[in-house]
């Protein structure tokens, strides 16, 4: 369960990126955080995986205040998560395989197992035929799918995705959402930052509406 209490975030005075945001996401939820550009979606997601600290407020994941975890122990939290960054954050001097394998190499899995899991993750995003290509030779949409494969390769408990379908054509976006839904069915909590109304309408079970850093509404499908 993810609980955010009175989160305030300020990058520069006097503007607040997030103002008094409180929300609860249950384990196994499939939810969207939506709103126009600059509404604070990315900031909110970054606070949940602790790339950013809020100016005020508390973040609890399964009852643990993640803001109090010391820096040298934060890796344990992150190993339970899969993150799709808005800017992909791929390593361009490493192959697709090597990029997707990073979370598995970190935990020291044997090469055979890494190969099997990377292949499966790439097959899920329909990129297994480009396993040995380098990211700079892939299209924008393909790079995005590599980032998604890296996020799902270690079967995370929590999957965070910031605009994961932003550059994909509607058909592929739909496919990607289906993959996320599949991971969700296996027990993972999925939080997606997106402004794609069509996808949200189709897939969203729980939707938080953000505007100018404030939660202005919440919708839940029964």
């Amino acid at each position: 369960m993810i609980e955010l209490y009175h989160i305030w975030k300020q990058y520069q005075k006097p503007h607040w990126a997030l103002s008094d945001v409180s929300l609860e996401i249950n384990s196994g939820d499939f939810c969207f955080v939506t709103g126009p550009s600059g509404s604070g979606k990315t900031t909110l997601l970054k606070i949940i995986f602790r790339e950013l600290f809020p100016t005020e407020g508390q973040v609890l994941i399964d009852g643990v205040n993640i803001l109090k975890i010391p820096d040298h122990k934060i890796f344990r939290l992150r190993r339970t998560m899969g993150i799709v960054f808005q800017d992909f954050r791929l390593l361009f001097h490493q192959s697709v395989f090597e990029n997707v394998a990073i979370p598995l190499r970190i935990i020291g899995l044997p090469y055979k197992e890494i190969r099997r899991r990377v292949f499966n993750a790439l097959r899920q995003v329909n990129l297994h035929h480009k396993m040995w290509e380098y990211p700079q030779r892939l299209s924008y949409g393909e790079q995005q799918r590599v980032a998604i494969a890296r996020a799902i390769v270690n079967n995370p408990n929590l999957l965070l995705a910031d605009e994961p379908t932003g550059n994909l054509d509607p058909e592929l976006a739909f496919e990607i959402m289906t993959i996320f839904k599949e991971i969700n069915k296996q027990g993972a909590t999925v939080i997606i930052g997106s402004h794609d109304r069509e996808l949200i309408r189709h897939f969203g079970d729980k939707i938080f509406f953000l505007q100018k850093g404030k939660i202005i509404g919440k919708e839940e499908k029964k």
Binding site: F49, E51, D71, H72, F75, R76, L77, R78, R79, M81, I83, F85, R89, L91, H93, I102, P103, R105, I106, I107, G108, L109, P110, R150
Partner: protein
Amino acid sequence: MSLRQLGYQAQAAGSNLWNFRGRNLVSILIIGFSFLIIGIFLSLSNNLTYLGEQLSNNLAISFFLNRNINTDELEAIKQEILNTGLKVEIKHISSEEALQRFKTNFPELQDILSSLNNNPFPPSLEVRLKEKSITLLALSSFMDRIKKVKGVEDVQFNQEWVEKMDSLSRIVRAIGLFLGSILILASFFIISNVVRLNVFARKNEIEILRLVGATNTFIRLPFLIEGFVLGFLGSLLSLGILFLLMKLFPLYVGSSLGAARQLFELRPLTTEQMGWLIAGGIITGTLGSVTAVSRFLRV
């Protein structure tokens, strides 16, 4: 960290060393030349120490005795010399022997001697030190002690030359230490900066690794391996150049220096000194990396 992860990190370090080979070569050269200077001074110091030892081995002190000295007094002096505990070889030179020696060594001055009515040379005790090394202070206290014994008139010893050798050896060691320290410090900062550039070039990678759950040790390790390798290769390079210098320098100098040539014969470093040079290179390289990476781990 498992062996598998270690292998992965070593592989990452290897590819990074290759990818940034130009920059890494510069660091190896800098470490190499810094440690070469230290090696040269060490070698010079070895040489001077060797010369000093040779000198002490052949060190002879002459105690000139009273002409009317009797056997008891002579024995008392010998006993006093032995009582000092120093390893010595004592030889008694009578007035006649001294005269004979002078005649043999300086035949052209025989005429002067014949014009004298009596033998001008006093009897003496020639004391040859067998100690491997002896300090000047110990030597002068030894001489003072013997000089006070009844029957000893004077002492002759070429102290000035020994003192010069001693201070030269100390100066060489001090310069070596001073220059060496500066150069080691400089190479430490250079390595640190080279690694920092490498780290900066891989800032994205470090950030990604952090965000997908890598530990600091996991991130730090390839850089430490790189620092270790750079330091090791740098110090090996310095030993290689030093070896070449030792082979080529005597050939270049040739025999033109005559007796002084011995000073320029670079004696090889001892195995222990070579070990210390390599260890120094490795420590400098690794510490340089530790400092550089630590600054980037606060992602």
